[in-house]
């Protein structure tokens, strides 16, 4: 754990795995998780997938404008969320809904955000999936790529300045490593050694361009920090146990003053980039099925079955239970309104929160709009 980056460079070249092809936990990275944690991980992975499935379908029904699934990548948010402490600050990307779900953000709140309705935490200002949860230490999702990376580093610098033990973690995709913000984050992390975990979720695809367009064919993304002396570790991103172990290792490094770690999670984007995307135009339909690292949920299930902790019947029951949880949440969420059904947000909300206090010209513009729409604010 205390090794400098140069002595552990091989971690950025190999693929850290715990679950082998026979679904058994093997090797030095086995975190030896107890049954309770494993079942909790599975439960939240199933819930995340059920949530995604429902939201994908309501988008198709025209109830929300847009959606982004995390299909095939659930183990990353759930495994890392379990490995981090509640006081650690998370700076998610747009495919990290599992972090919110694991930390206990109500599904109704996530749904209301997607609906831009009267229960929307963002007050109708953000596209669907741009959640936040300050009470659970999860930052606001931007929509611009990689901007949260240097912010997470700054947050971690703040933690060190204040003498606190909380660490920060952030996520970008393989494609976004090309952004300047990724490199700013790495440079500042290398210079100041703040307690931060920087994650690259390499799901092979940046909308239509494969990870080679971010330079992924030359060297691994995990190796991006080595030139700066930041240790990198390349992990099987469909192996919940490996993800948990690597995150735990990086978190302990950070918490004990050994600075930043870059983790690459090798996974596969199971669905389209978003509901606005059609992957059949640029990749084979059966590519995911041929992906050698499989489906993270199936792999965890097989592992649990092998350990005697789980049965197919129990799994079917869990999926049905989670579907009901999601269905119930959706019924409650739409009671706060949809884009086509009342109650609607008041348009005067548009003018709030631009500044802490509303300046005069915004009050005038608000009044002008309200008068035109025959409303009063």
């Amino acid at each position: 754990m205390e090794e400098p980056a140069k002595n552990i460079e091989d971690l950025s070249r190999t693929l850290v795995r715990v679950l082998d092809d026979d679904h058994e936990a093997k090797g030095p990275w086995d975190p030896s998780l107890d049954k309770g944690i494993l079942l909790k991980a599975l439960r939240y992975m199933v819930l995340t997938r059920a949530y995604d499935d429902r939201m994908q379908r309501v988008q198709r029904q025209g109830k929300i404008s847009f959606y982004i699934q995390s299909l095939g990548e659930e183990a990353i948010s759930i495994g890392q969320g379990l490995a981090l402490e509640p006081g650690d600050m998370l700076f998610p990307s747009y495919r990290n809904q599992g972090l919110f779900i694991l930390r206990g953000t109500e599904l109704v709140d996530l749904m209301c955000q997607c609906l831009s309705n009267t229960g929307d935490m963002c007050k109708g200002r953000q596209m669907p999936i741009m959640y936040q949860d300050p009470a659970r230490n999860i930052f606001s999702i931007s929509g611009n790529l990689a901007t949260q990376f240097p912010q997470a580093v700054g947050w971690a610098m703040g933690s060190a300045i204040k003498g606190e033990k909380h660490i920060a973690a952030s996520w970008v995709g393989d494609g976004s490593t090309a952004e300047a913000d990724f490199h700013y984050a790495l440079t500042f992390a290398a210079v100041y050694q703040p307690p931060v975990i920087l994650n690259v979720v390499n799901n092979q695809w940046a909308i239509s361009s494969f990870q080679g367009f971010a330079g992924g064919e030359r060297r691994s993304f995990a190796a991006r920090g080595l030139g700066l002396g930041i240790p990198g570790i390349r992990v099987d991103g469909n192996d919940l146990l490996a993800i948990y172990a690597a995150t735990r290792w990086a978190a302990e490094r950070a918490r004990s003053g050994h600075g930043p770690t870059l983790i690459e999670h090798v996974t596969y984007r199971g669905g389209a980039h978003s509901t606005s995307d059609d992957p059949s135009r640029y990749r084979p339909k059966d590519e995911w099925a041929a992906f050698p690292l499989g489906d993270p949920m199936d792999r965890l299930v097989q592992h649990l079955v092998k350990l005697g902790y789980w049965t197919d019947q129990e799994h079917t029951a869990l999926e049905a239970e989670m579907k009901t949880v999601v269905d119930d949440a959706w019924k409650e969420a739409v009671s706060f309104g949809t884009m086509t059904e009342p109650p609607f947000l008041g348009a005067d909300l548009m003018f709030e929160d631009v500044f802490k206090e509303m300046p005069d010209h915004l009050k005038k513009q608000r009044d002008e709009l309200m008068e035109l729409s025959g409303e009063t604010s």
């Binding site: 606001s140 580093v153 700054g154 060190a160 300045i161 204040k162 913000d181 709030e352 500044f355 802490k356």
Partner: protein
């Protein structure tokens, strides 16, 4: 009271606020051990330590991005961008993140970052050390934009900026760091000691954001300006003998519209002057506002004097800079019209 130039006034503002509020941190290129290329943060690292006065890598996007994260973590960061001309690598972090964090999160997150940056020409800086990009920032919803014209205001406004829970971009006209400049490069430089606004309280005080100052009263013409041009406009008005009311905006956003209206309703004539380029410049907003609010009081078209719409040229600096002659010509044009 004490004699201070603008650099000392800015330094004093940092010192007082850092002493008062332990969450204030300073970061930027060369700001720590060295004390800043213009010396605005001189001595602060020695006094407050490396954890509060942080030398940063040469990466403006990283400086602003990490400052935002520190702000989210309860600190109150003051980021120095060494020259306004260097701010663009951080532009996305300012526009897409800093300015909109409060809005996009429904008021649940904010980051009270102040970005200080020296701007303007007249120092032989060529096109990469002379720009006045304030109009670009005033155009963005969610940030406040400030430019003082003297040491007293620099200190008082900077304290207000740092204390503000809204992000502020604080432009420092570097030509007048050491003394007021009336636009005549052939005259020997003068120091702030001969100027009343070089008298600055040593203790804490503030100048509120969003309030303009009437620096000279007059009844024939209103000149709206800010930064270095305030001093140029005063000299140009004297040159023409016109009794001009000169308004120093001090804060570009939020704009103190009431002070402008009151003055133009009295004078009936208006000239807008700034160093920045003219096309889509901040002056266009001023002209539009005055036209809309004071149309029936206007006796002549509003005149605009600005930098030419070219990059800032090294060899032709004084042909580019809107100096006394150009401002005086603008004054005569407004006075002769109508």
């Amino acid at each position: 009271m004490s004699q201070m130039n603008m650099i000392q006034a800015i330094n004093s503002a940092h010192d007082l606020i850092m002493e008062k509020d332990p969450t204030v941190v300073v970061l930027g290129e060369d700001v720590g051990y060295f004390g800043g290329v213009f010396r605005c943060t001189d001595g602060l690292q020695k006094k407050y330590g490396e954890h509060r006065v942080i030398d940063a890598p040469i990466a403006e996007g990283g400086i602003i991005g990490t400052a935002i994260g520190m702000g989210v973590n309860g600190l109150r960061p003051v980021a120095e961008i060494q020259f306004a001309d260097y701010i663009y690598p951080g532009f996305d972090q300012i526009v897409s993140e800093l300015a909109r964090l409060r809005y996009r999160s429904g008021g649940e997150f904010f980051s009270p970052v102040t970005i200080r940056t020296p701007c303007g020409g007249g120092i032989r800086g060529g096109q990469t050390h002379s720009q006045s990009p304030e109009g670009i920032f005033a155009h963005i919803s969610g940030i406040k934009t400030v430019m003082p014209s003297n040491p007293y205001d620099a200190k008082g406004l900077l304290i207000s900026a740092i204390e503000s829970d809204d992000p502020v971009v604080f432009f420092e006209p570097k030509r007048i760091y050491n003394g007021p400049f009336d636009g005549d490069p052939d005259k020997p430089g003068v120091s702030w000691s001969s100027h009343p606004m070089g008298e600055v309280p040593e203790d804490y005080f503030n100048v509120p954001l969003g309030k303009a100052a009437v620096v000279e009263e007059g009844d024939e013409l209103t000149i709206i300006c800010y930064g270095t041009i305030v001093h140029v406009a005063q000299a140009a008005a004297r040159l023409t003998g016109v009794r001009a009311e000169i308004i120093d905006l001090r804060t570009l956003f939020p704009l103190d519209v009431d002070t402008l209206i009151k003055s133009v309703e009295k004078t009936g004539r208006c000239l807008v002057a700034h160093e920045a380029t003219r096309f889509c410049g901040y002056g266009a907003e001023l002209v539009s506002t005055v036209q809309q609010e004071c149309f029936w009081h206007l006796e002549a078209p509003i005149e605009r004097v600005a930098g030419w719409d070219t990059p800032y040229p090294h060899a032709f600096e004084w042909k580019y800079f809107p100096g006394q002659k150009r401002v005086a010509a603008g004054i005569r044009k407004v006075m002769e019209a109508g």
